[in-house]
Symmetry: none
Subunit: 208 residues, 4 copies
DNA sequence: TATGAATGAGTCTTCATTCAT
DNA sequence: CATGAATGAAGACTCATTCAT
């Protein structure tokens, strides 16, 4: 069954929910269709179970970051977050189509999505002094979206563009999560070249 | 035919490319299936024509902003950009699935996508002193992604969350596009409430 | 309307009854579909009218041969018959598909087919002494079939094969229509090479 | 699957390739449409597989005749050949439409068609002394066409005409394949009735 | 319980035919 | 009467799902 889920993630990530047949998923896992239907009564259920599974992995990844977060600088945190979706490329791509194609997702998946957001909120609250609970939650949503944008760059064929985007998004996230980053920055990059600045140059003083 | 295109945009925006049947599109437009095929030889062509049509609208919107851009402050520019996709809600949603599901889009659609990006690059080059061409292009891609995130919020059922996200994204874009915004900001919002700051408060000095 | 019929013959000959659309026929004739339906209420009727038209042409060709037949030698007659379908290539090909695809043809077409056969019977009765009416009719059917085989060779891509087949069929028809052809032949081609013999060598003595 | 193929042969023979629906073939075999597509991915493939299957049967029949051929007199050979297509009535009719409607047939089908022709060539070479290879091949093509004409007579509703045609074609083939048949004939049928002569009367001296 | 062949509802697409202009 | 856009029934084909073995 683990093999079935892994196969499903891969195939959904490659082709999208509708373009994938149940037969193909089973074949990819080296299992007969009958077995697939033994575990998942229909395609929609499979998708939902998959979504839960993926959400669990992501939640776990966020949990680990949350654990390490007290010791992380902003750029380290940003890198950790970007690393999550880089690690879970297929999962992210699969989740994207599934959410797109499933009208309603299970409660469990929604819970996990909320959990992820809460973890990020807590991390942000710990990171930024004086942040209100409400704003932290909103910021979490934004950060998650920025992570998705970054992850989606893996589809970009031109490596120069891809690298540029990733650096830029890293910078943007640092900027977003930093208190007074520009003050720091104006000091660190006074020449004003405005060339895709690295996070570290901007924020290495904001150690926590 | 206009009715067919509008119907197609709506239905694709609602359900996604694969989940929509040609019959449904025709029905939505109040037309028989034959009429749909009179104008578009197949589903893929319909999708591509639609994509071009949508791209043209967006390019036009960007063109207007580009025209007005020399007179705009950063927050005004941000509002203008966010307004584009708010105006073209369905179009944006439809374009999203279509790009996702069409393996290859027509040259025309690619050209328009590039045109849009170029316009935004020019706007940014005019806005930010000393910006290199390359960085402007990367920033354009990021800004476009941020616009998409904002537009996607229309799916958010909770109006409080939706409003919060929009304000936050507006803030993020201002932050991103502003020279020295934080210096200003540290002055304007010293109380450290850190409650979703408005763009204007941050940037009213950056008049151009 | 003549243009429509001619176009129909050509297109049916090229692609076959089912593969041809009414629109295509009209287009080929440079006429609007409406006009096509003005003359022929539906595709089947068109086919039937076409079949009648083709039959009339063939009957006319047979009539001419019948007229000249008293002065013809067997090989001359054979050449005349083979020339008919060579002349009416498209007509023959069209008629073939139409007969194949129409379950029932009109009385008129049947009449003309019968007329053709009767003409050929009369020719044979005049050619072969002592031939009974019944046998002449059977032979006519066979000759017509042989003519069709020869005509169908126009589809043969290899020119060597095509030429060889035509010569052979010409020989076979001569053989079939000749009284004592082999006696003659054994005289004319005593060397027994048995290489595709020409009709004339065999039969030039059977002048009538 | 055998049932599907048999049903397909029957239905194609009756109505022709284009006029037959896949649903109809399945129904005729008492199978659901899905089963038909389980074995044959599309209509064209079905047609081609059918053509190969039919060609194999015919080739087998020719092989048997080739085997027996050294012991056969000309009329016996003619009867054997005519018997083949009489046996494979539906097959022949189906093959006719299929070849007509399929633009390109598989290599296998072409090979079998060639094999059949080669067998017949070998038979003729053994039958007729001094026959060149090239002429034998041309004659084979003609004989095959004559066989088809005979087989097509099964569509003739009038039994008198049908019988007459068959006898006549049998005579024609004997005439064609016989050395000196006419000499014999002029002896055997001096009464000049010229009533559809039997083969045997003509050729009983040509024992091999 | 495991398997994968069998099933048929549902999709895209075509094209003969109609009829408003 | 002439036109050709509009119509929708019908056909090829797919694939989620079932169930006999």
């Amino acid at each position: 069954m683990a093999a079935l889920l892994e196969a499903a993630i891969k195939v959904f990530a490659e082709k999208g929910y509708d373009a994938v047949t149940m037969t193909e998923i089973a074949a990819r896992a080296g299992a007969p269709i009958g077995s697939l239907y033994q575990f998942f009564p229909n395609k929609e259920t499979l998708a939902d179970v998959l979504l839960v599974r993926i959400s669990e992995r992501m939640d776990e990844a966020f949990r680990e970051i949350e654990e390490r977060s007290p010791a992380l600088t902003v750029p380290e945190l940003v890198d950790a977050l970007l690393g999550v979706l880089e690690q879970l490329q297929d999962e992210r791509a699969a989740a994207a189509t599934l959410i797109e194609s499933l009208q309603e997702t299970s409660t469990r998946a929604a819970e996990l999505r909320l959990s992820r957001r809460r973890r990020l909120s807590r991390i942000l609250l710990g990171l930024i002094e004086g942040l209100s609970q409400a704003r932290a939650e909103t910021m979490s949503l934004v950060v998650i979206q920025l992570m998705k944008i970054a992850a989606a760059q893996s589809a970009e064929p031109d490596p120069t563009v891809r690298q540029g985007m990733l650096r830029e998004l890293r910078y943007l996230m640092c900027l977003y999560l930093n208190e007074k980053p520009l003050r720091t920055r104006s000091v660190d990059t006074p020449e004003g070249s405005l060339e895709s600045p690295g996070c570290d140059e901007i924020t290495d003083t904001s150690k926590r």
